[in-house]
């Protein structure tokens, strides 16, 4: 093993800093409310940095750069839609949900429909989406640790990082991580931007490096120069290493409708113009999944309840968009530069492939400036740690919260004391953490970003239609909402898993061949949001109409609480009425 001491030092500082902050905060989080939603007293500045810190996961920090390097233009949809999803959240969901006031989405589901049964269904989806989303974080952990310690098996990284974070969550709860996550946003921003600026100064600008890739209408590569140390981008010439065979050709890489979105058509033997319609369909479905999925992610929504009121919830959302938007300009640059300078990564798969470009790229500076490259690489490693640690702890809190607050506190043992629930929170955090680690072992071969995209697709076809319609339509009933959410979400989950199975499992060969001859079916199965979302909505409307006698009796008051400005004080009235009715 040949460990670079600088890289190890930066990574170690991040990990120990995180644990230390978690332990410190643990001392001040005492009540159940502190554990679940940080006592609902977080300011806009802290909360928006914390939401951004939690949101910028391994997919954002490592996955986007890796995917831009491997797939080119098409991968840009990911960062853009990750950020734009917040707009839909802001426009349709953030304000009403906060005014309604509940700890979690299952709380909302039960309160809106007066149905404990629906709470249980909603809890299942918190768990589905939550665990799906932990897998890419675990992959990020495995990749980063095997980069820092060359030769270390992937699974060791997953196990070590998973165990550390689980311990942190079990001891600190949510208040601990609000502080930690706000700090981690700034750590990630620093860790992606500083190395990016240094690399730009040495190897040329974002645009300059992109220009080295010729398009279909240009003559091949006029800018390419041999990789000669000393001839730098700053003076006008862009360095470029020869591309290996496995790398996509320039014109395919830089143009829309490249390898990422045409996979189904390529497998069916189509190419060029014949493949393009499938590619367009894939692109639209991906956009819908990412934009609507953001609004349906349980670990993000729970954070909106830590705003003091609906006005703060809106302001927070806007700041989140600015904070993450600025961040998302940087990762694609690493992908572009990586293609020119470290193309040998194209030949590797799993933990050694393009997903580690953000970690590895700064190290090339060592050729010219001694240890500078190692220091910057250490900084990006620290950022990667911050990324998967913060997202994983957020997910773990929402998964554990769902289990402790809903499954244990409401379903299994409704008469449990606050103390018992708190102890259960800690035990369940360990159980959930262990489950996430086991799931993490299985995903080494998948691209981080793709895994996250799938979690979004499931959220977009289950939670988003639920939240949208129950906020804006008086006529929705519990059976309608439940059937729409279940069928939309489960069918999408099933088709996504079927393509994963077909591609990766030795038993999936038959299915793979079946899909290969049906590019349309394969495209729709791999990106289900374009049919899943309308399906869920139509089911919700139709079933609600059929069961319209079951619209909650106090629907007008519920809608008023969701929509009326808080200064009118309807929330207090609603709570009083619920108590009188014996809920």
């Amino acid at each position: 093993m040949n460990v670079d001491p600088w890289i190890l030092a930066f990574a170690a500082v991040t990990v120990f800093g995180t644990i230390w902050m978690g332990f410190r905060a643990a001392g001040s989080s005492k009540t159940a409310s502190d554990f679940f939603v940080a006592g609902r007293s977080v300011s806009v500045g802290w909360n928006s940095a914390a939401i951004s810190g939690e949101y910028l996961s391994a997919a954002s920090f490592m996955g986007i750069a890796g995917m831009v390097m491997s797939s080119g233009y098409d991968a840009l949809w990911y960062p853009v839609c990750y950020a734009c999803g917040y707009l839909f959240l802001l426009l349709f969901i953030a304000g009403p949900l906060r005014r309604f006031g509940a700890y979690t989405i299952p709380d909302f589901a039960e309160g809106r429909f007066d149905s404990p049964l629906f709470r249980r269904i909603a809890v299942c989806f918190v768990l589905f989406i939550g665990f799906f989303y932990t897998m890419p974080q675990m992959k990020g952990a495995g990749v980063t640790l095997s980069y820092i310690f060359p030769g270390l098996p992937y699974w060791v990284g997953v196990a070590v990082v998973g165990a550390v974070i689980t311990l942190n969550v079990a001891l600190g709860g949510m208040k601990g991580i609000t502080l930690v996550q706000a700090v981690q946003y700034w750590a990630k921003m620093f860790a992606i931007s500083v190395p990016a600026f240094v690399l730009m100064a040495v190897y040329g600008s974002y645009g300059g490096n992109l220009k080295a890739n010729h398009t279909t209408i240009e003559s091949p590569a006029p800018m390419v120069a041999e990789a000669v140390p000393g001839v730098t981008g700053a003076t006008g010439t862009i360095e470029r290493e020869p591309l290996p065979e496995k790398a996509p050709a320039d014109e395919k890489w830089i143009s829309p409708f490249g390898s990422l979105t045409t996979k189904a058509a390529t497998m069916a033997g189509l190419s060029g113009q014949d493949a393009k319609p499938y590619s367009l369909l894939y692109t639209y479905s991906l956009i819908i999944a990412l934009v609507c999925g953001t609004a349906g992610l349980p670990h993000i929504l729970v954070r909106f309840y830590t705003n003091p009121d609906g006005v703060a919830a809106k302001r927070t959302t806007m700041w989140v968009m600015i904070l993450i938007g600025v961040f998302y300009v940087f990762p694609p640059f690493f992908g572009v530069l990586g293609r020119n300078l470290l193309p040998e990564l194209y030949g590797n798969i799993g933990a050694k492939g393009t997903d580690k470009i953000v970690l590895e790229l700064p190290r090339i500076l060592n050729e010219r400036f001694g240890i500078l490259g190692s220091i910057l690489s250490g900084i990006t490693c620290a950022g990667a740690f911050a990324a998967f640690m913060s997202t994983f702890s957020g997910l773990l809190v929402s998964i554990t919260g769902a289990l402790a607050h809903d499954v244990y506190g409401r379903i299994l043992k409704p008469d449990s004391t606050a103390e018992q629930r708190l102890r259960m929170f800690k035990i369940l955090a360990v159980v959930s953490g262990a489950t996430a680690i086991l799931l993490g072992f299985t995903v080494e071969k998948f691209e981080i970003n793709k895994l996250v995209g799938w979690a979004f697709a499931i959220a977009a076809t289950s939670y988003f239609p639920l939240l949208f319609l129950s906020t804006w339509w008086r006529g929705i009933t519990m059976p309608g909402a439940a059937i729409g959410m279940l069928l939309g979400g489960l069918l999408s989950l099933a088709t996504v898993v079927s393509t994963m199975f077909a591609d990766q499992s030795p038993w999936g060969a038959g299915l793979k061949a079946w899909y290969a001859s049906r590019p349309l079916v394969r495209t729709l199965a791999e990106q289900p949001a374009i049919w899943g979302l309308p399906l869920a909505m139509v089911l919700m409307v139709v079933v609600s109409w059929l069961t319209r006698s079951r619209i909650p009796a106090d629907i007008r008051l519920k809608m008023l609480v969701l929509h009326a400005p808080e200064s009118l004080g309807l929330k207090q009235e609603y709570i009083r009425e619920q108590e009188e009715a014996g809920h």
Partner: protein, 106 residues
């Protein structure tokens, strides 16, 4: 403010107020969503039908890369800023109207 919220038939609890309020909110949200979606969904269509135009070089970027990878973010900030400003103003106005309406209906 709202001293006796449990009194039944005042203006705040009327069907008209709720209907009017939700309609105004939804109209604002949908108009912002449409502005955003029009640009977002137009981009793949432009890439599809005008590939050469979208591959034009601007500062080394292709036009479509520059729009999607860089310019799209500020565009979304502007929409969200406009939405929040209007939505807060509208809600303040409605709250005031509701208070007045309640007094008027007594």
């Amino acid at each position: 403010m709202n001293d006796d919220p449990t009194t039944g038939d005042d203006f705040i609890h009327s069907h008209e107020f709720l209907h009017h309020l939700m309609k105004r909110q939804l109209r604002l949200s949908i108009s912002c969503a449409l502005t955003f979606s029009a640009v977002l969904l137009a981009l793949p269509v432009l890439n599809y039908f005008l590939p050469e135009f979208m591959a034009m070089r601007v500062f080394g970027f292709t036009l479509t890369w520059l729009i999607l990878g860089v310019l799209f973010f500020p565009f979304v900030w502007i929409i969200s800023w406009a939405f929040i400003r209007r939505s807060l103003a509208m809600e303040a106005e409605e709250a005031e109207r509701a208070q007045r309406g309640k007094v008027g209906s007594r």
